[in-house]
């Protein structure tokens, strides 16, 4: 039998959760499933083990890239929830990354807090700033919200210059973490960074996944699909929107502090407008509203420019005008992905998988009828 996806719901992401299906719930929904949180946690632990094994196999540089990727995944995941679920837009989440990064660096330098506590505090600080901005912007929609967040991203870094004694001005603040003692002196720093960042990223993804499936997540979707209807059915629109801003800012803050761990520094020029635009690009290219999409989008963000740069290098294109060739190629990649996969990479993959599934089914049917 040829199955067609229900018209109002495009093929959902659960088609990708193959391991879980294989584990048992492929057929009947009525069969008892463990609670969502437990399921998510179990899966996260499984992948944590896989990532740890992988990180040991990776070269130090690849571990570094993995750590960088994890930092972006957290920030992009928060943004994809904001845009894809609550229907608001932000072109300024780099500013919240800056709040997280600077908070983390200040705590690291002055109070020498343990890293996990620093991440929590940075996340909280970014959440608070997200709440403040969310309240101020609660009445804004579409391009006006885009404009406000854009200017936030442009203006916030200049605070670092204005209050130089605190934020280190243009030089920024150092954030150079060491491998914790219990791992031994010969443990590679970048492997530790990969462990730490991937660990935090997994926790963030589990929390977000649960939030998405919670009542808040459902209300967000109602809000996104029809604000008036949602409001008429008794939802507090403004509060839901502020909460979405807080969640995405918190994720950006966590991503910011993780990026600072990878970079070994925070400085204003890291958090320039370009970063915010990168986050938006990654969220949309990956596929809005899906956490998997956030991973694809971040991978595109972290790996593709480096790859293009290295291809250009190996062709001797480093001098004069040809140093811009990888930039052109990146621009073309962005446009091409959007034209080829209108629903992002995740959407495109799902369509491919759906196609792959349908074909054998059709063959069977044909056999049966002949």
């Amino acid at each position: 039998m040829a199955t067609t996806p229900a018209p109002e719901r495009p093929p959902a992401g659960d088609t990708v959760s193959l391991p879980l299906r294989a584990a048992g719930s492929a057929e009947g929904r009525p069969r008892r499933r463990p609670p969502t949180l437990v399921r998510h946690l179990g899966v996260a632990v499984l992948f944590a083990v896989l990532l740890m094994l992988a990180s040991a196999k990776l070269s130090a540089y690849r571990d570094y890239q993995l750590a960088e990727l994890a930092a972006f995944v957290v920030a992009v995941a928060g943004l994809t929830v904001l845009i894809g679920l609550s229907g608001q837009i932000s072109i300024g989440n780099g500013a919240f990354m800056a709040v997280g990064g600077y908070t983390g660096a200040l705590l690291f330098l002055h109070l020498q807090w343990p890293l996990v506590a620093i991440v929590l505090a940075a996340t909280a600080a970014a959440a608070v700033s997200g709440a403040v901005f969310g309240f101020a912007a609660a009445r804004l929609r579409g391009p006006y919200l885009a404009g406000a967040t854009l200017m936030l991203a442009v203006a916030l870094p200049s605070l670092a210059t204005r209050f130089q004694s605190v934020f280190g001005g243009d030089q920024g603040l150092g954030f150079y973490v060491n491998v914790p003692g219990f791992l031994g002196v010969n443990f590679s720093l970048s492997e530790w960074q990969a462990w730490f960042n991937c660990g935090i990223a997994l926790i963030a993804l589990v929390l977000l996944a649960n939030l998405i499936r919670s009542r808040v997540g459902r209300n967000w979707r109602a809000l996104r699909d029809d604000e008036v209807a949602a409001s008429l059915s008794g939802l507090n629109v403004a509060r839901l929107q502020v909460v979405a801003f807080v969640v995405s800012a918190a994720c950006a803050g966590a991503g910011g502090v993780l990026l600072a761990v990878v970079d070994g520094t925070v400085s204003a020029s890291v958090f320039a407008l370009g970063l915010s635009i990168q986050l938006l690009t990654a969220a949309v290219l990956g596929g809005l509203g899906t956490l998997t999409g956030a991973v694809w989008g971040s991978a595109l963000l972290v790996l593709v420019p480096t790859y293009l740069e290295n291809v250009a290098q190996s062709h001797g294109m480093t001098q004069g005008t040809s140093s811009s060739v990888p930039i052109v190629a990146y621009g073309v990649v962005l446009i091409a992905v959007m034209l080829l996969f209108p629903s992002g990479i995740q959407g495109g993959l799902l369509r491919l998988i759906a196609l792959g599934r349908r074909r054998p089914a059709r063959n069977q049917q044909e056999k049966g009828s002949s």
Binding site: A137, R141, G147, A155, G320, V332, L334
Partner: protein, 292 residues
């Protein structure tokens, strides 16, 4: 007092540039509901075309005309080739396409013209004017800038209000489906909207590039402020775009003059948030209508 006058005049002349960019964004937004992040980059590119023409022929005005024409053509081509395919897709897809365009066009300019700063001629003298012994702090070129932007804005207003093309453009912007039913060739109108925006962008590029010098990133900062100006004015309103540009220009000029260069962007943010908190759809928007 002289200082205050100077700051004000400088703010207004900077504001004219933001107004031109804002106006082009408003045109595109009204027609296609797309925020074109590549608007500044395209203006940078047409300025390179102008400079090549000026360097080869020695004629500023020939370069000017070619840049304006190039803006028109590039705007139309962009709409046809990369914007239309994403027209019926989720709205952010078009945004990402314009971001890709921004990155690609800046890269292309680097490939074709190197990333070095190039000197760009002004239309008129940049030596200050004075009344008696008091220097005004504005130049002939500043006056030309103001006249050119206001003339372009006026022309567009006239076209929109009093011509049949303008009527069709407005109908398309108001409701493309209804316009199509009424026999308007909506596709053409959308292309025309982008072409006109390209023209305005090219004009802004010609006017501002003498004071930024020309390099692949030279329009980045100007674009951000032009965008901010458009939001302050209200994206639906050409008058708002001009007003938003002038307000922003003056606010930033006072901030830089009285408080120092490093607070300029903070004041830009403050001005924007203040306006939006009072009027969430900008100063010159119609009463906020909920789309049901």
């Amino acid at each position: 007092m002289v200082e205050f006058l100077e700051f004000t005049l400088e703010g207004l002349s900077a504001g004219m540039i933001y107004a031109a960019i804002a106006l082009s964004l408003v045109l595109i937004w009204r027609g296609t509901r797309v925020l074109n992040y590549a608007q500044g980059a395209l203006a940078m590119f047409t300025s390179y075309i102008a400079l090549e023409v000026i360097d080869r022929t020695g004629s500023y005005w020939l370069g000017f005309v070619v840049a304006i024409a190039a803006g028109l053509v590039i705007g139309a081509v962009v709409e046809r080739t990369v914007i239309r395919p994403v027209a019926n897709k989720p709205p952010l897809n078009a945004v990402i396409v314009t971001i890709g365009l921004l990155i690609g066009v800046e890269g292309l300019a680097g490939v074709l013209f190197t990333s070095n700063n190039r000197s760009f001629p002004p239309a008129f003298s940049i030596t200050g004017l004075s009344i008696g012994s008091v220097a005004l702090g504005i130049t002939r070129n500043d006056i030309f800038t103001a006249v050119a932007v206001l003339a372009a804005a006026g022309l567009i207003a006239v076209v929109f209000q009093y011509t049949s093309v303008g009527l069709r453009l407005r109908a398309t912007a108001f409701n493309a489906r209804v316009a199509r039913l009424l026999g308007v060739r909506v596709g053409r109108m959308l292309t025309l909207g982008w072409a006109l925006a390209g023209l305005l962008g090219a004009l802004a590029g010609m006017l501002v590039t003498p004071s930024t010098f020309l390099n692949p990133n030279s329009m980045d900062g100007i674009f951000v402020l032009g965008f901010t100006a458009a939001v302050i004015g209200g994206l639906e309103s050409p008058v708002g775009a001009v007003a938003g540009g002038l307000i922003l220009g003056v606010v930033l000029s006072y901030a830089a003059g009285y408080l120092g260069g490093e607070v300029v962007n903070l004041f830009g943010l403050a001005a924007l948030m203040l306006v939006l908190m009072l009027r969430p759809s900008g100063l010159f928007s119609a009463a906020p209508a909920r789309r049901v």
